[in-house]
Symmetry: C2
Subunit: 297 residues, 2 copies
């Protein structure tokens, strides 16, 4: 029997990646489009997916891991929409619905971070872990949690970037860059927050610069807050800021100090880099496509 | 057919409540014991449960909602133990195992707050809500979350009391009472933390006292942090401190300000008092007993 083929879309605020995928180690073809307008970018993606079926064979389902916020309630009339986003032109965009109707295929749809969390928990660093959290620290800070193999979903998808933290004693006179909350985690530790304070990215600042300790301290607070709330077996840290050399070790050191020996998880075991590297988002699309069509896997 | 009978135990640090229960509205008999030593208190509970079967009929299962920390992994050799607790004499106590062996009955076992969360989500204020969080604010601060009808469980059960928060501008010169973390949430907003700063319980302090705003502000931070991480459909607040007149309204006001309109849940809808009043813990035992013996319900 032929392995079912899936169309996967990793939809980011700056670029879309689409691919024809048969399995986590079997990506048949990939394409990239700049994220411009919904009509142009979704249109190009649809054209490519249609043409790709000619080259690779019929697709069984589509999986989309998208920037948000999104409406994920399948009972809601606007299921599949990108809702009120800061990305110009994309608010209130019927994304998953349009893709599904245009291709007459079932569509799995979730946030980029929920997709990445799902892929990491299925094939990457979170395999076999009871509660798997994935957080990306880059232009923004966003996260998702996989519980019993499913993305955690309350009234909406989690954000995780907007948790509240104490201020580092050496981080004074900065009000934070979050337009909603000022000095929430994203307002203090995202790439733009680092740039706003120190005029450079974290990896461009010398290793002795105080920014490394301050950012590690905030991210360690995030980890112990997550431990207090759900004792995750892993907190996978992805994104551009996390790639800074030495940062994960600094976060581990601070998290062990802040935890005070109280939590079950040890920082060195639970704070880990992604296992799927930069393929986590696209394979998130695969996981979402598989889950919408479980009998085909 | 006769309704199955369950033995339910709400095990607290100061008292045990045991009961014979057929359903949430059908509590046949209740008893209380002071929490002294494990031998004495568990022994008295066992004697009472044995004798109660003579009066009411055979029990089908036992449900225990206990103070912790607990070992909840059924594959662990010390499943059912109270582990390293600050309650003298109770560390490393084989609680659920002893009860089960002595009565030859299956035992459902979880934390008091997970039990209360489960009962509230099944019969109380959290009925029909996709993610239901229950937090008790009293001698300590502890919480549990029910997701898809089951208590959230990572490497261990959640605590929720030990999340980190910014400091209120008017709450200076106080290092917090948490022996592990100093000024975590429990260290700042639990009953003992209130007593340590102001020499009285919150409900004994006049309504104009600054303590009301400070404690509400901390608890509102907890709510928005929970919203950021899991967008719960409800955060049910129980416990002695929460009973202070006006406190829930103050928390709602602060949570809406802190949320900045970012989250799906509105404070007035999600921050709610328990629906089961002081029976949430005992009915937690019922829910846990039902879940260990699903065919009997």
């Amino acid at each position: 029997m032929t392995r079912p083929l899936f169309g996967c879309i990793e939809a980011g605020g700056t670029k879309f990646v689409a691919a024809i995928v048969a399995g986590p180690d079997d990506i048949r073809e990939t394409v990239r489009f700049d994220t411009t307008t919904p009509a142009e970018t979704i249109g190009a993606t649809l054209d490519w997916l249609r043409a790709a079926q000619g080259r690779h064979g019929a697709l069984s389902a589509i999986g989309i891991a998208s920037f948000g916020p999104l409406e994920l309630d399948r009972a809601a009339p606007d299921w599949g929409y990108i809702t009120a986003t800061t990305k110009k032109g994309w608010s209130n965009c019927d994304f998953a619905g349009l893709i599904g109707r245009s291709l007459s295929l079932p569509v799995g749809f979730d946030t980029d971070v929920n997709g990445a969390a799902l892929a990491e928990s299925r094939w990457g660093a979170g395999r076999g872990k009871p509660v798997c959290v994935y957080v990306t620290i880059g232009t923004g800070i966003g996260g998702g949690a996989i519980i019993d193999g499913k993305p955690l979903q309350g009234l909406s998808h989690p954000e995780m970037g907007h948790i509240r933290l104490p201020r580092h004693a050496d981080d004074t006179g900065f009000s934070g860059v979050c337009p909603f909350h000022g000095d929430c985690l994203e307002g203090l530790a995202s790439g733009p927050a680092i740039m706003a304070r120190w005029g450079a990215s974290l990896s461009d600042l010398p290793q002795g610069h105080v920014a490394h300790d301050i950012i590690a301290w905030y991210l360690a607070h995030m980890v112990v807050t997550l431990q207090s709330i759900m004792e995750p077996a892993c907190v996978i840290l992805g994104g551009g800021v996390t790639g800074t050399p030495g940062l994960i070790d600094r976060i581990r050191t601070q998290a062990d100090i802040l935890g005070g020996g109280y939590f079950r998880g040890r920082a060195k075991d639970i704070i880990i880099p992604p296992g799927l590297g930069d393929k986590a988002g696209l394979l998130g699309g695969l996981a979402l496509a598989q889950d919408i069509l479980p009998h085909a896997v």
